[in-house]
């Protein structure tokens, strides 16, 4: 799992993410996030890295 920044354009990604949620209800935002997580997870693919990402997310709230 990568923990240092790996983005080609971190600010650009963040803005695109916010734009995608603009004007959405909480339910629509949740649904968008669910679809996005599944699309991104498939880009990673590797089971071990995905498990580490889930654990890291659980441990940073």
């Amino acid at each position: 799992m990568k923990l240092d920044a790996h983005f080609t354009d971190a600010d650009g990604f963040y803005e695109a993410l916010l734009d995608a949620h603009k004007d959405l209800s909480a339910a629509q935002s949740a649904a968008l996030n669910a679809r996005l997580i599944l699309l991104l997870a498939n880009q990673i693919g590797d089971a071990q890295i995905l498990r580490e990402c889930i654990t890291a997310a659980q441990n940073t709230h």
Binding site: A34, R35, L38, L39
Partner: protein, 555 residues
Amino acid sequence: MNAPADISAPKAEFTFGGSGYTLPTYPFVTPPELKGETPARYPIVIVGGGLAGLTLACDLGLRGVPVVLLDEDDTVGVRGASSRGICYAQKSLEIFKRLGIYERIAAKGIQWSVGRTLAGNDEVYNFDLRKNAAQSDSEQPPFINIQQFYIEWFLVERALQLPSVDLRWKSRVTRCTQDSDAVHLSVETPAGSYTIACDWLVDATGVHSAIRKGFNLNVNPAKGDDRWCISDVRFKHHPPIERWTWVEAPFNEDRAVWQHLMADDVWRLDFQMDPACDMEYVSREDVVRERLQRQFGPDVEFEIVWVGPYSYRSQCLDNFRHGRVLFAGDCAHVMSPFGARGGNSAIQDADNLGWKLALVAQGKMPARLLNSYDEERREGARQNIEFTRRTSRYLSPENAAEKLFRDATIALARKYPFARALVNTGRMSSANVYPASGLHLGQGAGKHVQNVALTIDRKISDLVALQATRAHKTLVLAFGSCAAQAAAYTQALHGAPTDVIAIGTDAIDHQSKLAAQFGLSADGVAVLRPDLYCAGTAQAVDAATLIQKLKAWFA
């Protein structure tokens, strides 16, 4: 020991407008114990003539090992019922090829190839298995759909041809005890009761096993609140010859529905129910009829063959061996029907146990070999329970987050192929792998080997047929440069119950698939277990070491 079987006279007939199937019945024959003869001591007794018990009886019969099978009924299947299991996977079909009933199953059963997954009023995606046919190296298809009682019936007729198998109908075990020397059974029959003793007892009496309960063994039960109702029906005008699964069916309150097919134009409709439903009510004929009319329209004409409600449950014994008693099939493990893992795992249990029990009964291996049956098949059960639990969780989201992610998989799967891997309407039973198997002689141990095509004596044949020419023994397969060493290996293994096969001479791998099954390139040696599992491989340079390990294993 047995009357000759007449395999040409099928008695089970389905008649439209009748009351379902008429199943074949088998006569009770007074056993020697009730004719005043001295009670015999038997090497192996199986209790229960279902998929596990009958598969094991045929396997032992094929190896010439004497076996008594006690069944409390005198027929196959469930009396008056159509079917329980309907789908038999490739590994089971390979086992049935060895037992000699595969051709009958293929002739009677149905092979479908198009499957559709639906949600709401339209399709999420579809697949055609014929396009994946090249991915399989086996001579058997991925699966065949057929009613369970046909399999049991073919197995009974096969067992009747095998002289070392003693089938005893209407024979109910009322008491079972064991000491260090033997298992003792009390058997009740129409002609009176008797007792017998045996070296090994195989309990294959199903989920409610009284034998297992008598030994007070822990089965670790887990129950879910998911409720289903199976309806097996025969239509006057049938739907397309395809498998359809609705994750959310509008005609079933947005719950799941399965639509499968089997032999004799009988279809299985499996409806997910409200967890709070009254199971007796939803199984009532008029309620089943109304449900089918909601799905197929008010004018649909059909006959109900069988209705079977069930709820998700799983359980698994702590140990599949208890002294001289071995547990196989549903009495050892239970899981939900998703992926047809119940019946297929019972068949795999019998396949795993047969050759080991034969070697122990013949005094060729010590009894501890039977511990590997527990290790391997309990691992198989663990895998099967995990698969079915995951399917159940997909089909019955436990909270809002689980439903959110399921909606996401369906939305994505409509457009993008990757998400179809996440839509879980059941994962089809496959040969379990045994990564931590104690029967580990080298690389690749515990991996299943498919029944690949081979040329033997200039005829197109297969791996199972090769085993048959060598009495279904463990085989040493010598590839490439190792094939020239076959005589030396045979000499080194003198006295061990195994044969060496020189690939290229004794059998020709004309499609170059066999070595790849073991993860070998052109050269090397592989040990093939009688149940078509790898016990270990070696490159040419380490071949002699593997042969020595095999020799030591048999010593």
